[in-house]
């Protein structure tokens, strides 16, 4: 049975879904499924899980880029073959874990990883800044306002010392989305890096009727800023720029409405979101900095701003307090004071449900 390009239906297999989850389990995971009793982080990046049966598995976690080549994957496979019986997994935050069941291989694995400089950084556990989850950016996306991999690399270089340590009051989860579509859903992160546009789309009247469904474009605008317009013989649309809030949804529906612009686009920073239900309920991230210009290749202002937020938090938060819980306790007036960030009209919500965010009490701090 070989592939026959002239007969795609021959022996065709479809709808089989993914391999069953336990297909690639290491034996220790298979044998102790559902029987784990407790775990301990032995040192940053090294977890020990102990089963009711007494079995132990050591997971060694390393940071990785999300964008990786087959050669990188092969390198990681070499390490797994050598030390973890050929077994490994990826975490939801693009870290890699080697699952070691033979304790005598743990120290040699750590030593080998360390011997390769920082190519395989060990960490990402406990009260750390773990890997940044992110989107495609300029690497592969058609609607980005910023790059993703490049910004992440620059930020993680600066925060590197927090990846392999447990010195923060609690964990900081950072996420990046290169436009408001947020295919990386960054809206509940301790720190979110978001690509934003600031110029309304321009209308390519000669293309609109050929490449767009005009009623769908009009319906796509959340502020009803788009209406149909005849330009000579061409069916097109016009945009009320004063109503545009730069979501880019119309461009998603119509490629003849580009809004990307090297000078218009940049980065907004958001803080204080969380997903876990631990102590406090999940929270959205809130605006800290509305706009920082795009500064490839190393985005120095963005990096500096994030560092400033992290340091103010590390300095002021109590043990177990996430950034959102810290800001809630000290108040936003104190947050802007302690971080030295400016508060402006952009921070005051004027979209739907805006009034739920306005201060309706005389309780605040001078």
């Amino acid at each position: 049975m070989a592939f026959d390009p002239n007969n795609l239906m021959k022996d065709r297999i479809t709808d089989i879904g993914p391999p069953k989850y336990d297909k690639h389990f290491p034996p220790v995971i298979k044998e102790n499924f559902g029987k784990w009793k407790y775990h301990e982080i032995l040192e940053p990046g090294v977890l020990m899980h102990v089963s009711e049966s007494g079995a132990e598995v050591y997971s060694v976690r390393i940071g990785s880029a999300r964008l990786i080549s087959v050669d990188y994957i092969r390198e990681v496979c070499n390490m797994a073959d050598k030390y973890s019986g050929g077994h490994l997994r990826w975490t939801t935050r693009n870290n890699i874990e080697f699952l070691v069941s033979d304790k005598s291989k743990l120290q040699p694995l750590l030593a080998d990883l360390r011997s390769q400089g920082s190519w395989f950084p060990i960490g990402g556990t406990g009260n750390c800044i773990t890997n940044i989850v992110h989107t495609q950016g300029w690497a592969h996306c058609h609607t980005p306002a910023i790059d993703a991999s490049g910004v992440v690399k620059a930020v993680m270089d600066e925060l590197y010392g927090y990846f392999g340590s447990h010195k923060l009051p609690a964990q900081i989860r950072i996420a990046l989305a290169c436009c408001l579509n947020m295919c990386g859903a960054v809206h509940c992160s301790d720190i979110a890096i978001l690509g934003v546009h600031r110029k309304p789309p321009f209308v390519e009247h000669d293309r609109v009727q050929n490449v767009c469904e005009i009623p769908l474009v009009i319906a796509a605008c959340p502020t009803a800023a788009i209406k149909p317009k005849k330009v000579g013989d061409l069916k097109s649309i016009e945009i009320n720029n004063d109503r545009c809030m730069f979501c880019g949804n119309c461009y998603t529906m119509c490629p003849a409405l580009p809004l990307a612009d090297g000078e218009g686009d940049g980065i907004a920073i958001w803080v204080g979101g969380k997903v876990s239900n631990v102590i406090s309920a999940p929270m959205f991230s809130k605006l800290a900095v509305p706009f920082i210009p795009n500064e490839p290749p190393r985005w120095p202002t963005t990096v500096k701003t994030i560092k400033k937020i992290v340091e103010a938090y590390a300095d002021g938060a109590r043990r177990y307090e996430r950034i959102g819980e810290w800001t809630k306790r000290i108040g936003w007036e104190r947050f802007f004071e302690k971080t030295g960030l400016e508060f402006g009209h952009e921070h005051i919500d004027d979209y739907r449900l805006a009034m739920t965010t306005w201060r309706t009490t005389t309780q605040f701090k001078f």
């Binding site: 993914p18 496979c77 859903a185 102590i279």
Partner: protein, 424 residues
């Protein structure tokens, strides 16, 4: 060795301690991978222009599927011909991403031969993302995946997207449900919805084993399945004492190797419902007041464990901002047993989807449809009973949409009789 394109800006990202994607891709280019060479050139141009260079969309795919492949074309094929076509293939990952090296190496060989050799491990939704190939390679790759790897494509477009779970019972002592089995079962059950667009917009399932929610189900999935329990936290009083006495490392070592531990400040006082007491001898938990936030359990993992009457809380409607603003999921089923074959849960899913497919507008996520047509309507069509656990607070406006059936005489007035009682 000089590469095809000079990349002075990208070269700056060879520097610094964090693993560099630029260094990684450069070595692929250095061994003659033309797609990687031109991809680097295109990235350099984007860095210089501060604008991306991929064209809008493009519909490509494999026969019989409406998703799983994202068409991508660069907007300067004149300069970078090897990435003129650079489509993405999403491959459905095994739940929670365990691999053996044999399958990974074979996947690498396939992708190096038939694509760019660049990947994302993994995409935001969980798929293995193979970045960059040409249209003529799609069917051969699909054939090999299904025949040689027993793998299939993931979701894209207005489909059920590839469901995802935390690692659950495979390596976590807190998981109250078998998240991996739930996700595998749902993925298999709803293959048609995953591969063939039938919804108003995307639909995501995510399952986390406990309220810590390691896959961010509550923020990122239209239907969030979060493990929980209804009975008592299991307590080992001797281990509590061992923590207090400094014999065990608190927080499982997450805050460092310290042994100094103040149970009052670190556990009792931080409990969100103040449902715990410690008298120096034993820990008392008033479980009826516990909201299962997991804090005490994570700080003293060898002393406290989730209860045994386990199931899931089902929440719906989370999404990123586009279009009506970001939403977190809201509770619609406070507790449901989640045991294979998940018949009751699947019955709920069918009712939810029938309603959303009927009522949802084009590109409207479930959470937005519920916001537009009300949670009450959603509960009605899904045959769920209202419960105080579904709200943070009862409404504080008086505008109730009453059902005429609930009012004696319905909405009819006897106008003549009214006017006999009241002169106009």
């Amino acid at each position: 060795m000089a590469l095809k394109h000079a990349t002075p800006m990208l070269d700056e990202l060879d520097k610094g301690p964090w693993p560099s994607f630029v260094s990684d891709v450069k070595r692929m280019a250095a061994k003659g991978n033309r797609m990687c060479e031109d991809w680097l050139g295109l990235m350099e141009m984007s860095f210089r222009d501060k604008e991306g260079h991929w064209k809008h969309g493009g519909i490509v795919g494999v026969l019989g599927y409406g998703g799983g492949v994202i068409g991508r074309y660069c907007d300067r094929p004149d300069l970078f011909p090897s990435v003129a076509h650079f489509h993405t293939i999403r491959v459905n990952q095994p739940a929670s991403k365990y691999y053996d090296t044999k399958v990974l190496r074979r996947l690498c060989d396939l992708w190096e031969a038939r694509g760019s050799g660049l990947t994302n491990m993994h995409g935001s939704t969980g798929d293995i993302v193979l970045l960059g190939t040409t249209t003529d390679q799609l069917e051969p790759i699909f054939y090999e995946l299904t025949h040689e790897f027993e793998m299939d494509l993931g979701g894209s477009g207005s489909n059920m997207r590839t469901p995802e779970s935390c690692l659950g019972m495979s390596r976590c002592e807190w998981s109250c449900i078998n998240t991996q089995d739930i996700i595998y079962d749902l993925t298999q059950e709803f293959q048609d919805a995953l591969h063939r667009p039938m919804f108003p917009y995307k639909f995501k399932f995510k399952a986390s084993g406990c309220p810590m929610d390691c896959v961010a189900a509550i923020a990122r999935s239209d239907c969030s399945i979060i493990g929980t329990w209804r009975d008592q936290i299991r307590t080992d009083q001797a281990a509590v004492k061992a923590y207090v006495g400094g014999e065990l490392v608190p927080h499982g070592g997450a805050g460092g190797k310290r042994t100094s531990f103040d149970i009052k400040a670190e556990v009792i006082d931080l409990c969100p419902t103040q449902c715990m007491e410690y008298d120096g001898k034993s820990l008392k938990i008033y479980d009826e007041d516990c909201v299962r936030c997991m804090h005490c359990i994570r700080v003293m993992p060898r002393a406290l464990r989730p209860g045994l009457d386990r199931g899931a809380t089902i929440l719906v409607g989370a999404k990123a901002p586009i279009l009506d603003g970001a939403q977190l999921s809201s509770v619609v089923i406070p507790f449901i047993k989640m045991e294979s074959p998940y018949t009751e849960f699947k019955g709920f899913v069918e009712k939810m989807w029938d309603w959303w497919m009927e009522e949802g507008k084009n590109r409207e996520r479930l959470g937005e449809t519920i916001q537009r047509l009300s949670l009450r309507e959603f509960l009605k069509v899904c045959e769920l009973q209202p419960d105080p656990r579904m709200v943070n607070t009862p409404r504080f406006n008086p505008y109730i949409f009453y059902d005429p059936a609930a009012v004696p005489g319905g909405w009819e007035h006897d106008g003549a009789a009214f006017r006999q009682r009241h002169q106009a």
